[in-house]
Amino acid sequence: MSSQSRQSARPRKANAKGVPFSQNPVLAPKLSAWRSRLVMFVLFVSFVALVGRAFWLQAMSTDFLQKQGESRYARTLELPATRGKITDRNGLVLASSIPVKAIWAIPEDVLAEPKEKIQQLAALLEMSEAELRKKLDSDHQFVYLKRQVEQVTSDKIEALKINGVETRKEYKRYYPEGEAMAHVVGFTNVEDAGQEGMELADQKELAGKLGSRRVIKDRLGHIVEDLRAINEPHDGKELTLSIDSKIQYLAYAQLKETLAKFKAKAGGVVVVDVQTGEILALANLPSYNPNDRSVLTGAQLRNRVMTDAYEPGSVMKPFTVSLALETNRVRPETVFQTAGKMTIGTAQIGDAHESGALTVAQIIEKSSNVGTAKIALMMQPQEMWEMFTKVGFGQAPKFDFPGTATGRMRNFKTWRPIEQATMAYGQGITASTIQLAHAYMIFARDGELIPLSLKKLDQAPVGERIISPNTAQTMRMMLESVTGPEGTAIRARVPGYRVAGKTGTAYKVEHGQYVKKYIASFCGFAPVSNPRIIVAVMIDEPDPAGPHFGGPVAAPLFSSITANALRTLNVPPDTTVTSLLPDNGLGDIM
C-alpha cells in the first residue's frame, strides 16, 4: 500500500514517451509574442478611455448634467402677491383684489376638438362661436381667450376638459363704492398696475412683490421638498385714505342733484378737515363706474377738483383784503367809494350791483369789485404776489396725486396796475378748487396753513403762519356776514351752525376771450366759532338762462353738504337752531 501511494505521488508521465503534462510539446506556445501584447494594449487603452469618459462626465460636464437631471424633477413656482387694499378712514373697503382666471388657449389643439365643446366654451366665455373661432384663427401658440374671468365660470370651463384650453391665475380689482369714489381711488388695468387716482399715486406701495420657490415634485405633482430657501412674496401695503365714505357719498349725491337742477356741465366738491388737513370728501361729476370701464370719456375721467384750474373770481377777494388788514393799510371800518366805474389805464371795472360808499367789511359782504381793486392798488405787486404764493396759488399742491393743476400766476414784475386790480378779485389768475379750499385754511385756522393729505394721518401736521390770528378772526367775521341777511350768499346758511364763506362767479375764457359761460363757486367753512371743516364747491357751466351766480347755484350745495358733514362728524351746533333759510329746493335729499 505504502509503495503504491509513493508511486502515485510521482508526476504522471505520458504513457508513450513518459513526458510530464506541463512539458507536453503540444502545449508549447506557437503564437508570436506581439499578439498578447496587442491584447494587453487594447485592454489598457479601453481602460484609459473609460477613465477619461468618467472624468469627463464627473468633472467637466457635471454642471450640464446636473441641470438636465434637475429639470426633470425640480420646478420653480411663482408665489403670487396680492395688491394692497384701499380703505376709507373707517376701514370700509374701497378697492380690493379678488383672484380670477385668465383663459388662454393653444389654437391648434382647441380647433381639433369637437364642435359642441367649442360651442359650450363660447357660451361660457359670453361670446359667439364665430368670435371665438376668430380669436383661435392665429399662428401663435398662445392666445388669450378672455381675461379676468370669475372663478365660478373658470371652474365650469375647466370641467369641459377641452384640450389646449388653460387657465392662469390673476387678480381683478373691485370697487364697491363705484362712481361716488371713482376719482379719488382711481383704477388699475388688467396687469394690476394703477392707472388713475390713488391707485396710480401709490402704485409702488400698493403693488406686492412676487416671490418664488424652487421645489422637487414627485410623479403625481406633489411638492416633496424645497431645494433652497423660499423667496417670500410681499403683499402690497394696505392704504387708508382720509376719505369718510359717508360724507363722500352724500356730497356726491347732492352734487348730482345740483347739476341736474341747474343743467350744469360738470362740478366738483371738496371737504377738508380743518384740524388735520385731511380731505374728507372729494367728488366730481361727470363720473364713471370703475368696475365697468368699457365706455370712458376724458370728461368722465377728469378729477375736476384737482386738475381744473379756472379764474376763481370773487373767491379770491378775502386774500387781498386780509393782506391789506395785515399790513395795517385798512381797517374793517375804512370807507371806500365804490359807486360808478373805475378806470385804470384804458380799462374799466364795475360792479354788478352798484353801491355807494362801503366799508371794507361791506366790500366783502357785497362782493364789490371796485372796492377790492381800490384796496389792491394801495399795495405793492410783490406783496400781493408773495401773499398769493404763500397760500399756494401758482404752485403744485404738495401732495402726491396724478395730474394736479398748478394754476397760473404771472411773476409780479410783469403786473400792470389793471392786472393787479383784476387779480385782486380773481381774474387773470387761475387756481383749482383744491387750491382754494387749501388757501381758505388760513382763515379757518387762525392764520395758519397746514398741508392737505389724502391719506389718514395719525397726528396733525405742524402749521405755517401766514397771517396773524387777529386778522384771521376779523376776516372770519367778514366772511360770516356774506351768509348774513345783507350778504351775497344767504343760501349758504346751515341751520344750527354759523357758517362763513365767499361766493365766486367767473367767466370762462375760451381762445383768450371771455365768453358767456360761467363757473359758479363757493368756498367756506363752519362752524365759525371753532371751524372744523372747509367746503369748496364748483359748478361748471350752469345753464346761463337760469341762475348762474355763485350765490343761488353753489351756496345751497355748500349748505347741504356742510350740514351733512357736520352732523356726520358729530359737531355740536354753535347757534340756535332756527330755519332762516328759504327752502333751497334740495330739502328732499337730506
Partner: protein, 93 residues
C-alpha cells in the same frame, strides 16, 4: 476580534440607513401637510377679502339710504328735529 467588530459596524450602518429612510419619509409627509395647510390659509385669506368686499357692497351708503327711504319710510334728519345733549367732561368718564 476584529471580525466581530466589523459585524457590529455593519449592523450599525444598516440601522442608520433604515432610520434615514424613515426620517426622510416622515419629513416628506410633514412637508405635504404644511403645504396643504398653507394652501388652505391662502384660500381663507381670499375668502376673507371676498367677504370684506361683500360687507362694503352691502354697507354702501347709497344702498342704505335707498332702503331706509323706500322700505322703512325714514326721512333725513334735520337740525330742527334734533335734540342736542351736552355731555360734561365729568359725565363722559
Amino acid at each position: 476580534m476584529s471580525g466581530r467588530f466589523n459585524v457590529l459596524l455593519l449592523i450599525a450602518v444598516v440601522v442608520c440607513a433604515l432610520i434615514l429612510v424613515k426620517t426622510q419619509y416622515q419629513a416628506r409627509h410633514l412637508f405635504i401637510e404644511v403645504e396643504r395647510s398653507q394652501t388652505e390659509a391662502r384660500q381663507l385669506e381670499v375668502e376673507w377679502a371676498q367677504l370684506q368686499l361683500d360687507q362694503s357692497n352691502l354697507g354702501k351708503h347709497e344702498r342704505i339710504q335707498a332702503s331706509a327711504m323706500k322700505d322703512l319710510n325714514m326721512v333725513p334728519v334735520t337740525a330742527e328735529r334734533t335734540q342736542y345733549l351736552t355731555i360734561h367732561d365729568r359725565q363722559k368718564q
